[in-house]
Structures are given as C-alpha cells and as structure tokens.
Symmetry: C2
Subunit: 226 residues, 2 copies
C-alpha cells in the first residue's frame, strides 16, 4: 500500500521504517526537504540528524508535506501536536480528501517545562480539531498512547499483550486502521467510538509521562484487562 | 485498624463492607445520619436505600462526617468529587489532622449529561485541591481509576492482574496505603509521585467512561504492562 507519513521526528521515522519493512511504499514528508537533509545536529529530542537515519532507509522517499499526502492511500500524522494543523494545512486538504488519516499526535505543551500540559483537553481534542479542519478526511486517532517503538513493533513488549485504541467517525476507516495495526503486531485494538473519544486517549498522556518517570523507561503500555 | 469512610454511596458502602470483612473497625459517615437512614428510595445511581444495605452490615456504624473522621486512623474520602471539599470540611480539619486520607473521588461534572467532563484537570486536580485545603492531612490519591467492586476485591478480575496508582507527598502515608491495598488483593501498586500526579490518574476517567460504553461493562481495569 502507498503510505504518506507527515513528520520526520522519531514517531514519523519509526513508523515509516516499520511500514517500509512490511513492504509498503512509504513517503516521509517534511516542510522543507533541503533543510531537513542539510541538518547535521541531533534534534531537540536527541534523535540523530535526518540524513543519518535516511542513509539507512533509502527505500523511503523524502518528500514535501503535500507530496507525501498525495502519495499516500493512507496518511499518518506523526507531527508534534503544536504543529499538526499547520503541517496538515501545508499537506493540502485536496491531497487528503477522502483518505484515511491516522492521527498519532498529542497536544503536548512543553512551554512550562516537564511534565507537559495538554493545550486542549476535556471538552475538545486535537483529533477533533483536525477532523473539523478537514471535514472530508476520515480521521482515526490511534497509537498516541505509547512510545514510538511500541507503536511500530508492539510485540517487543510482553509479546504484544497490551492495548491500542481507535477513535473516529467512519467505521470503514477504523476497520482499515485496525487491519494495519494488526499487521504491525497489535493484538488488542479497542474501538472507543467517534472522534470525540480522542479526548480520552489524549488525556492518557499526563499519566503516561508520569509513569515514564516512575518506571524509568518509556517501554510500557496500557492494557485494558477485562 | 479503625477506618472512617466519608460517604454512603456505592464507593463508600463497597469499601466499608470489604474493610469490615477484613476485620477493621469501620464507621461510615454521612451529613445527616437520620436523613440517610430515613430514605426509602434507590439513589440516583440505582443503589438501594442505605437502610437496606445497612441491615446486612450492622457491624459498620453509621456516623456523622466528623464522627467518622474522628474514628478513623485512616480516613477514606468516598464522596462524589463535586461534594468532596464540603464533606471534608464538615468532617473537620481537627479530626483529620496528621491522618492518612485516601482520596478515591473524581472531579466528574455530569451537568452536561453523559459522558461527564472533569471540573478540574490538566494543571490541577481534586487531589491537590484537597491537599491544599487540608495541609496537615496526608492525602494519598488512589483507587479512583476503577469500579468500586474492583477497588474492594480486585481479584475478581483476572486474579488481580491489573494496576492501581498512589499519588501523594508523604512516603510513609503511601506505604501505609500500599499495605492496605495489598490486603484488599491489589498486586501492582504503582507510586506515581507527589500529589500533582493525581492529575494523571483523574484524567484517566474520560477514557474510563468511554471504555465502559465500548466494552459494555464497568468490570475492567488498566494494567501497566512493562
């Protein structure tokens, strides 16, 4: 399948690499490919420069946001939450129209340091903001409740015995995303309901960041025992 | 141990009954014991009248808020979040001073119907509000992330193989609460950190209510797989 990944940070890279490994045709989109390629320093999260990563993933095409969106039959929003709406606007509503958009982003506000706050929550969510901004796109919120490496390869933790959520207004889109998630190794995909249920999954982030501190690792996940 | 339970709703009753069963001396507190006893109709959540429940739990003394607080070496706030500060004020700072207060409440706002919103979240929590209002009390937020029956008897679900959180500023208080939780059957007690981490556990409620709808049962719980 053709997949467009929006965002070249650790989430975008990890998802792009895994999807390419599974045989998909993946484009990874950035605002300015020349600038992204030219960087020689690690990013703010300590990830190596894009070019270093890309040298080992030459099967993944670096593209502009709009090229990546155009390429994808499924598009993945892997940008930071504070930049998601701008990135998707640059990707172009016309390139996203009718497509499934997997929204992995979280509305984390690091302006006050650690732990981050949520810039939107409780009565709204970033998933809903994106759906409202792009009414012709079939937004499915998912994967935003775990570390990038677990999104892509869940079986590395407890053989995959933990949960992932989907929220969205379009049942067919959620079914497509569920199939893709299962191909990655996710075994327990829980449909929370319409896109307003993204409030719930985004509001897991405050305990997620505290758990990361308490446990001393980001390699953990929520399992819904029932 | 002497335990005072503040609140005669389903959480208070379920915890009181279980703690009495384990041999503790339990008082259950209400604003007006005569009015609580006189009720003959189920409450708004469909629970039977208090007197019906109490007839089967005569080892638990019905008391006023302040008597229950005075009785307890450990006090449990099992009131609804919207009434917690008023109930604890009625219980009396002088009766709570220096004691461990297990705060099970959640700041749920049902004024807009279902699903409820949180009346405080993100940059504050009800647990912190209670700690600020009663600086001499050792508040430990816990148990607020699951159905009452699982708080009291976790082993009825998956043999207890799921998680419970504690948040609080006093390490000794958290150790006492952890011991009590383990006596109930909890096997995975995770110390999130100081009382500000109650934001994280309270913010689990929005996905909890959506999961209850999606799964068709309140008998589920979060397990932190790591």
């Amino acid at each position: 399948m053709k997949i467009g990944v929006i965002g070249t940070g650790s989430v975008g890279r990890t998802m792009a690499a895994r999807l390419a490994e599974l045989g998909h045709s993946v484009n990874i989109g950035t605002r300015d490919p020349a600038a992204t390629t030219a960087r020689t320093e690690p990013d703010g999260m300590g990830n190596p420069p894009f070019a270093t990563w890309h040298a080992e993933h030459q099967d993944i095409a670096l593209a502009t946001f709009d090229q990546a969106a155009q390429h994808g039959e499924i598009v993945i929003n892997a940008t930071g939450g504070s930049g998601s709406l701008a990135a998707l606007t640059a990707a172009g509503a016309e390139n996203l129209q009718g497509k499934v958009l997997i929204d992995i982003s979280n509305p984390l506000d690091f302006s006050q340091g650690f732990p981050p706050f949520l810039s939107v929550d409780n009565t709204d969510s970033l998933g809903e903001q994106i759906q409202r901004a792009f009414p012709e796109v079939r937004v499915v919120k998912s994967l935003n409740t775990m570390a990038a490496t677990l999104m892509a390869e869940p079986k590395q933790l407890a053989g995959g015995d933990h949960s992932v959520f989907v929220s969205g207004n379009d049942a067919d889109a959620k079914a497509s995303v569920t199939t893709l998630l299962e191909s990655l190794g996710h075994t327990d995909v829980i449909d929370l309901g319409d896109i307003t249920t993204a409030r719930g999954s985004e509001m897991l982030l405050p305990i997620w960041v505290r758990l990361m501190t308490a446990l001393g690792t980001p390699i953990f996940n929520f399992k819904i025992v029932r």
